[in-house]
């Protein structure tokens, strides 16, 4: 029995997934290195050792993400849109809209009833609305990026920003810190600004239930709850795996389908 693998080389993190049939048996997440080929190798090695598997046991591997063309060991590459759609559907079969927030981009993907990509929009031109926005803000606030989401729940009167630009918002945050505004109110304002920006993309694809969020920002409770308020309904929580892995899972599911000879869609 050969295993199916997927490798997603992103701008900030690289992920690899190994599947045995429809089950995830190996997971690797590493910080991306200067060269995409090194990031891919590190992620894959982490997933292999996590699953106790050797490279020779991998039957097929699909690569995706920003650095996909440089991955040495893949059999095929697929677009991030295709992999995120595939991964989200594996994580939540009823999904109609995928909102993926990466380290340097953000995308909204609308799926039809069969799980095919119907429409999508991406933003990779402006840092606002991407993971980078939160990263810059967490740095200015001097809080761990994983803690930023928790500040919203404790905020009393969240700040607002005059513009969406990360650079101007950064200057505003410094002003707020210096004028003694509580860190919770600043953090909540940051999460709200992020959610508003993402909501613009979601409305551009006419988001419909069920909506799932993938990418690291899906773990930020402040962003998620504001986005839910704007959308007017709950965002489906993903429990089957870490939402950051959606792209790599999608890639692995493509590999699985290849190994199965496309006989049936893996769900």
């Amino acid at each position: 029995m050969k295993f199916a693998a997927g490798c997603d080389v992103g701008s900030l993190t690289s992920k690899a997934i190994i599947m045995d049939g429809n089950r995830i048996v190996g997971t690797g997440i590493v910080k991306s290195k200067a060269k995409p080929e090194l990031s891919a190798e590190a992620a894959m090695n982490a997933a292999l050792s996590n699953g106790g598997i050797t490279m020779e046991q991998i039957g097929y591997c699909v690569g995706t993400g920003y650095g996909r063309e440089k991955i040495p060991f893949v059999d095929e590459t697929k677009s991030e849109i295709a992999c995120h759609a595939k991964g989200a559907r594996w994580l939540a079969p009823s999904v109609k809209t995928v909102i993926d927030i990466g380290g340097q981009d953000c995308k909204a993907i609308k799926l039809d009833n069969n799980g095919n990509v119907e429409n999508f929009v991406t933003n990779d031109k402006c840092a606002s609305g991407t993971g980078r926005f939160l990263e810059v803000m967490a740095d200015v606030l001097d809080v761990d990026i994983n803690e930023l989401g928790n500040l919203s729940a404790r905020a009393r009167s969240p700040i607002t920003f005059a513009s969406t630009c990360t650079v101007w918002a950064q200057a505003d945050v410094i002003k707020y810190i210096n004028s003694g505004v509580p860190i919770e109110d600043i953090g909540a304002g940051i999460n709200n600004a992020m959610a508003k920006r993402v909501a613009i993309l979601a409305s551009a694809v006419r988001a419909e239930k069920e909506v799932v969020m993938t990418g690291g920002v899906a773990k930020n409770r402040g962003v998620v709850s504001t986005l839910e308020k704007i959308l007017g309904y709950r965002i489906r929580k993903i429990r089957r795996a870490d939402p950051q892995l959606a792209g790599a899972i999608g890639a692995a599911v493509f590999s699985l389908e290849k190994l199965n000879g496309y006989q049936k869609e893996a769900v």
Binding site: K125, A127, S163, T164, C165
Partner: protein, 261 residues
């Protein structure tokens, strides 16, 4: 008749002292302080000193710019757009398009043959295409902002910077440095990226000749060739310090007030 114009920007405050609405007899540019009123006062005092006039001799003062409402002694405030149009048309009557790039904004203004504003567009929402872009990049490259124009002239290889966003372009610059690319080549690439951003803003109001560039960024010689290329039209400088155009326009407006009395 002595009049003055005070332009309080986000980063610098400028004051111009004018004699008879015809001659610039003194001006000064200072970094703004936290209190815009104090910045205005200091800029005006220093310009007056250079002009050799005392406060009581100034018959009217017009305030303009982002902090115009905090100019404590202004007889009147006028929008930046009107002041820039007025100042540029006075300095160079053949001008039809003014592209002003300040520290935190950029604007394009088209005027008719009488100096009246026909159309204008303004960007203060995105840091790309403003002085901040070059400021951040100078820091990333560890070069002096004022030297960027000169350094770009030494460039021998063309580098295309693919990002216009300040945040993303900064990352791109860091990786170009790590790849061992020449600083002067990176700077020229940055000038083009910035110029393209400003050009697309300006094109939305239709750019007519002659085109001038004003504002602090117009002190960077490299931006003139980059913007000329971006627009496909020659861009020239005004025969005055490019940073005082708004304050000059305000001083001219102040002369109008006195003349009407």
């Amino acid at each position: 008749m002595i009049t003055a114009g005070c332009d309080i920007g986000s980063l610098t405050a400028k004051a111009v002292i004018l004699r008879d609405g015809e001659e610039i007899i003194g001006y000064d540019i200072i970094r703004v302080k936290t209190n815009p009123g104090a910045s205005a006062r200091e800029a005006l005092e220093r310009a007056s000193e250079k002009a050799g006039v005392s406060n009581t001799e100034i018959e009217a003062i017009v305030g303009t710019g982002y902090g115009k409402d905090s100019v404590p002694f202004a007889s009147q405030t006028v929008s930046e757009i009107s002041c820039h149009a007025r100042g540029a048309w006075w300095s160079l009557p053949s001008v039809r398009t003014i592209i002003d790039i300040g520290g935190q904004d950029s604007k394009a203004i088209r005027i008719d043959e009488n100096g009246n504003v026909a159309r204008y567009i303004y960007n203060d929402k995105c840091a790309a295409g403003t002085g901040r872009f070059l400021e951040v990049m100078a820091k990333a490259l560890d070069v002096d902002l004022a030297q960027m124009g000169e350094l770009a002239e030494k460039s021998t290889e063309t580098i295309r910077i693919s990002n216009q966003c300040v945040i993303f372009a900064e990352t791109e610059v860091v990786s170009l440095i790590n790849e061992g690319r020449e600083t002067c080549d990176i700077i020229r690439g940055l000038h083009h990226a910035m110029a393209n951003r400003v050009a697309s803003l300006a094109k939305s109001i239709e750019v007519h000749e002659e085109v001038v560039m004003t504002g602090g960024v117009a002190k960077n010689s490299g931006m003139f060739s980059a913007l000329s290329e971006g627009l496909g039209l020659p861009v020239r400088a005004l025969p005055i310090d490019p940073q005082i155009n708004g304050a000059l326009g305000a001083a001219l407006m102040a002369a109008d007030i006195v003349a009407k009395k």
